[in-house]
Symmetry: C2
Subunit: 574 residues, 2 copies
């Protein structure tokens, strides 16, 4: 009795309404896209999820990396239905839908089958990088097959000595006529080789001869698995040496890639020589938002599995002696509400970041991207763990999908820049270096929502939500003060700022989640739908106010009083 | 370069000193036992941990359950060295050491190899149940081989329909002369079958003919895998039908047990007919404390692995351009300190519960047991997750031991009564039904320690610790008030109490952890050792005060204002 993933269309529509910044997509179009994505996720991707985990992708001598049964056919249909092209501009052969609507669909893929979803997400990042940075000839050759999905993409960044800190990269590219020959070894390359597409477009970071040391000497290259030419595709000198055995996302092949074992993998520059890091960030921002969206889907999936189990599993009796489903037990309700309210807050925040991209609100997007990547992935880990807990002993068994969700979720805080890298980016670059401008705009919007909620009249629910409005106002003003202090004093002391970057991110995120629940509650109060859904939304907002938002106090204490103790700790004292 | 588990003897001695309630064990004896256990853990158990995870125990047609290579020899040496008999009274052939010292050793086993450690822990629970409840003939027959380790034990409680709620048990026992014949099926039986010992003593919950329904009709039976008789051991009608495939603790065989497929498994009553639940609680309390201790060991292990990795892994550069180990990065320090301070607090609290048993302080032990089981296991999950995070991408790979630790840790909050069962036990039975007496005594001790810390004079450290003392005093008084309110108002409304039981447990635990850090800081201030260790301890206490103890505010908010929203939620609103 497997429970297939069902896209939570009602909650997604609420989140879309809260985040929307323009009229890009029509309402009918939005519905059609969401419903089609929901069907594809339920009927095609979700049923492959458990088997993909059990089988994993395998590296074979004869056929390279072989994906689990069914993945090839699913990918073929995914491309045929146009999902690879959703938010790609129409002039590039895409469907030109908004980033926001694309974000909702990305969440759906992550919820149905995270391992699968990572593959098209890489292609989307590659299309964006090529579109903005590659010369015309490269764009014309590589973008169309990526848009159609005929070719896939992979990001080749990490090397054994070079993970969070890319300045120590060693992969070399030497000029050879109009192109380059690359040699080196890359690790942790997601979907670095596989049998879904006829070609794989690797975007590779490497150094050129005489390049300055460190990040300033890094260039970005496009290195196809197979070289396109007049007589079709010819092998290039890049191959998967081995696959990692991982805790989760096992259907997604994580490769060690060797470039140039036979002399050199042929590649072409993307963007200026030594300008690789700037081009990389185009991809990285896309990928980071993708992690946030996928993680939201994973959290949603955990909640669906837990709720279904809780409604079904009988344990304990009511006062009349009848057996009760565990959903009637108070603590199961508490866990399910924690899962649901965190997931919805994460979703709304991720969509808000996506919507900022639709109107080129660059500072807003830059501020929200690390917040979304880190918080949504942390939320997914927490929610998945609660999902296991609701299942009791069953949740610990390999044959229960929630145990896979728990393992899958754990990658989110690690890849595409660890969550601490996100926190440092948020506090260092997006708050301190920005002198708090984008943050202040965000806090102002939070205050505005809190005022609207506080001033709403006319129903019992409004009274019940007074706590949310009041806490939100209080947290916003404390956050504002703390940010001011960090900008003034810690800006000059990067170690102190670094020591509180993570609690600062958590504080801002949990308050932003409260802001989003305030907006959701306002939607419920203002539209007052006749069914039970408004009651559930008000309940969710109240729960967030009493059970989740107070975490702000703990994060704030670490920000306010905890920098020195961390910064002064010597390694021997740890 | 595997890092073997090293028992943290210095921190354990501090925790033992804080918890000790009497002079049971001599100092020399304590040292000798701890050092021998540390050696055994490092040299014998820890090296088997990863391989045991990779291999798992296997069910074979010819030989029943076969444990991973090396487990048999390790168990033989474990018994030969007398570890099965450590805290067993001398009159039963044990070594008669204190429960407290036994607790420290139990932590060590859990840290070195959790899957292995669960096996002798079951035997310890069985010895205790038999010693207190079984008739003399049973005691004489079963206890000596359990004490020597020649026989192992298992607890057969859960059935498919009957997990947290044992009232629906169906396994039947019908009288047959002086003994009973049992038929039924049990699931999730840890170490239910294996090849380590020549016999396995199952303690089985079952109903007798005509027994009253529900918990009042349950009896406890001893059912050996092999029947001891004059001509040696003869097969009994109980066998493992299958093994579960689990997320973690894979070397530990989790069995589906069939009793009476051939007519009836022969067993003998332990305790009075229909008195099974009382006998069960003897074992359960032992097992629950064991989970807390094992979980503490798991958390310690995660911290050791993370610290070793952080000292070794180079990433990023200092201002002079030299590569730095990641332990020098502020957020890695923050994570390591979170791991270390949570682990030490959990350890101290678990030892405090064990020490209460040494002086038969029964209400104290009853209050602390659920707190320890739940909080230590939650801490292990959190600390293991941080351990993965410190490892970055490496932490997600199967060949890094931290990924196993993360999977192993997740069982703690589930088995031996889910953590919500513990929370309900704590608030319902141990606080409300006790009218807060044992709690008040505990809170009084916390206040006493906070006063001592506040009034300590004479060093800069004392000033730095003022926040800890003040927060502790404030939290104790808020907890006292909240408990009073829960006793008075919610005692009559079990649904409301139930709705806040878990946040109440978390609140009390995190404050109790602060109490233990206050005691540790006092030890450091008062003894002022010449080396760096006092500085590290004061740093740990300060970190706990700024980064961990403030979580109390979030838990308190849920207790104070969150009952109604949980209790009033209808299933359709979740």
């Amino acid at each position: 009795m497997p429970t297939p993933y069902e896209a939570p269309l009602a909650m997604m529509r609420l989140a879309l309404d809260q985040a929307r910044t323009g009229d890009t997509d029509g309402a009918l179009e939005t519905d059609a896209v969401l419903e089609a994505a929901a069907r594809f996720a339920r009927d095609v991707l979700s049923p492959l999820n458990s088997a993909g985990d059990a089988t994993s992708s395998q590296l074979t001598a004869a056929r390279g990396v072989v994906t689990p049964e069914g993945f090839g056919e699913a990918y073929r249909r995914f491309c045929a239905d146009g999902w690879t092209a959703l938010s790609v501009p129409q002039e590039l052969g895409g469907q030109g839908l908004s980033v926001l609507l694309g974000a909702a669909v990305t969440e759906i893929w992550g919820g149905a089958n995270l391992a699968f979803a990572m593959c098209p997400e890489s292609a989307a990042g590659a299309i964006e990088a090529l579109r903005l940075h590659a010369p015309a000839a490269i764009r014309e050759r590589y973008i169309p097959p990526l848009v159609s999905g005929r070719w896939a993409a992979a990001m080749d960044l990490t090397e054994p000595q070079s993970g969070s800190d890319l300045s120590t990269l060693r992969t070399m590219a030497r000029p050879d006529g109009q192109s380059w020959l690359l040699t080196g070894r890359k690790i942790f390359i997601s979907w670095g080789d596989h049998d879904l597409a006829e070609n794989i477009v690797h975007l590779v970071l490497a150094r050129t001869p005489g390049a300055p040391p460190g990040l300033k000497g890094i260039s970005l290259f496009v290195v196809p698995k197979r070289l396109p030419g007049e007589r079709g595709l010819a092998p290039n000198d890049i191959q998967a040496l081995s696959l990692e055995h991982k805790m989760g996302i096992r259907a997604s092949p994580t490769c060690v890639m060797a470039l140039g074992e036979g002399g050199g993998a042929r590649g072409w520059l993307v963007g200026p020589q030594h300008g690789g890091m700037a081009c990389l960030f185009t991809m990285m921002n896309q990928m980071r938002l993708g992690v946030g969206l996928h993680s939201t889907g994973v959290a949603e999936r955990a909640w669906q599995l837990a709720r279904a189990y809780a409604q079904e599993r009988l344990q304990g009796r009511d006062s009349a002696g009848a057996q009760r489903p565990i959903v009637e037990h108070a603590d199961v309700r508490r866990m399910l509400l924690t899962m649901k309210t965190l997931t919805h807050a994460a979703r709304c925040l991720a969509y808000t970041a996506a919507a900022a991209l639709d109107i080129q609100a660059e500072r807003r997007a830059a501020l929200l991207t690390p917040l979304v990547k880190a918080w949504c992935s942390d939320v997914a880990v927490e929610v998945a763990s609660l999902g296991v807990q609701v299942h009791g002993g069953m949740g610990y068994m390999d044959d229960s999908e929630i145990s896979q969700v728990y393992r899958d979720a754990r990658i989110g805080p690690i890849f595409e820049g660890t969550n601490f890298i996100q926190a440092q980016d948020l506090l260092g670059r997006k708050v301190i270096r920005d002198d708090g401008a984008a943050l202040e705009q965000l806090l102002g919007e939070m205050e505005h929502a809190a005022h609207r909620l506080r001033d709403h009249r006319g129903s019992r629910s409004a009274v019940e939500l007074a706590t949310l409005a009041a806490s939100l106002l209080s947290e916003v003003s404390l956050l504002r003060r703390a940010a001011r202090r960090l900008i003034h004093s810690h800006g000059a002391q990067p170690d102190l700022a670094s020591a509180v970057a993570y609690p600062f991110l958590q504080w801002l995120a949990v308050v932003a989640g409260g802001w989003q629940w305030a907006l959701t509650a306002l939607q419920a109060l203002e539209h007052e739908p006749a069914d039970d859904s408004a009651g559930a939304l008000v309940l969710g907002a109240r729960f967030y106010a009493t059970h989740i938002l107070p975490r702000a106090r703990a994060h704030a204490a670490a920000v306010e009083g905890g920098a020195d103790v961390v910064a002064s700790a010597r390694p021997a004292q740890l």
